[in-house]
Symmetry: C2
Subunit: 167 residues, 2 copies
C-alpha cells in the first residue's frame, strides 16, 4: 500500500469529531453510573426526571401538564423510545401516566413524590462532582455552548440552546 497518509484527509478529521462525540457521550453516561445505580435509574431516565423536575417547579397553573410529545420534543426522542422508558419509570413509581381528558390521543406524564424525592440526592452528588472535578465551570460552559451551536448547524430538528447566551 503506497497510498500516503493524506489519503485519509477529510475522513480522518471528520472521524475525530464524530468519534469524539460518541466517546464523550458514553464517557459521560459512565461517569454518572455510581449515582444512577444508587438512585436505581438509568441515564435517559435521569434526563427525563431533570426535565420533569424543572417543569414541575415552573408550573404555577394547575393544568401545565406534560405530554409524551412535549417531553420528546425537549429531549429529541420519539415515542418508540419514551413509551417503554416511561412505563418502566411508572412501574418504579417515579411518574404517573394518564390520558388527557380533552384529547384522548395525548398521554400526560407527571412526576410523583417519589420521583421528586430523588432530586436532592442527585443535586448533591452533581455539586460534589463538579467541585472535585478537574473540569472548570468555564470549560463546561464553553463546551456546552459549542455543542449547541454545532447541534443547531446540523439542522437538528428544532434544536436550540436552552441557555442561548447567558444564564
Amino acid at each position: 500500500m503506497a497510498i500516503c497518509d493524506d489519503d485519509n484527509g477529510a475522513l480522518a478529521l471528520n472521524r475525530q469529531l464524530c468519534f469524539a462525540l460518541y466517546a464523550a457521550s458514553r464517557a459521560m453516561t459512565r461517569a454518572y453510573q455510581p449515582m444512577l445505580q444508587h438512585l436505581g435509574i438509568t441515564y435517559p431516565q435521569y434526563l427525563v426526571l431533570l426535565v420533569l423536575w424543572e417543569w414541575d417547579q415552573q408550573r404555577e397553573r394547575e393544568d401545565a401538564d406534560v405530554s409524551v410529545g412535549a417531553l420528546g420534543g425537549r429531549l429529541m426522542l420519539d415515542s418508540g423510545t419514551l413509551t417503554p422508558l416511561l412505563k418502566r419509570m411508572e412501574q418504579r413509581g417515579l411518574v404517573v401516566r394518564r390520558r388527557a381528558a380533552r384529547d384522548e390521543r395525548v398521554t400526560l406524564v407527571e412526576v410523583t413524590d417519589a420521583g421528586r424525592g430523588l432530586k436532592p440526592r442527585a443535586q448533591e452528588w452533581v455539586a460534589r462532582q463538579l467541585d472535585a472535578s478537574a473540569v472548570s465551570p468555564q470549560e463546561v460552559e464553553q463546551l456546552r455552548s459549542q455543542l449547541w451551536a454545532f447541534l443547531a448547524k446540523l439542522g437538528g430538528c428544532g434544536a436550540s440552546d436552552p441557555v442561548p447566551s447567558a444564564d
Copy 2:
C-alpha cells in the same frame, strides 16, 4: 412551590452539558444516516471500519493483525458490544474473524476487499458534507480537541486524543 430558580443551580448547568453531549452524539449519528443506509452499515460499524481502514493502511508488516481487544481499546467498547457487531459485519462480508494461531484466546479481525471497497464512497460523502456544511474546519477542530481534553479529565480509561496537538 415557592422554591426559586436557583434551586436548580449546579444541576441545571451540569445538565446542559450532559444533555448537550447526549443530543449532539445522536444528532451526529442521524446526520450520517443517508450515507450509512446507502452503504448498508450502522454508525458503530462505520467507526469500526474507520479504524480498520486506518490500520490496514499503516501495516507494513504482514503480522500486524487486529484483535477484538485492540479494536475495543481504540473505540472504548467491550466484547459484549463488539462480538455481535463483528459477527454481523462478517455476515455481510465486510470483515473476516479468525482465532490467532499463537494464542487461541485471541480473535483477529481483518477487513475484506468488500470492506475496503466502501472507503472511497464514505470519503467522498464526508468531503462533500464538510464542504456543504455550515460548520467550519476550525470549529470542528476546536470542538474535537475540547472533547478530547474533557474525555481525558473524566479519567476515561486510557482515553487520549489521537491527534494530541497538531495534525
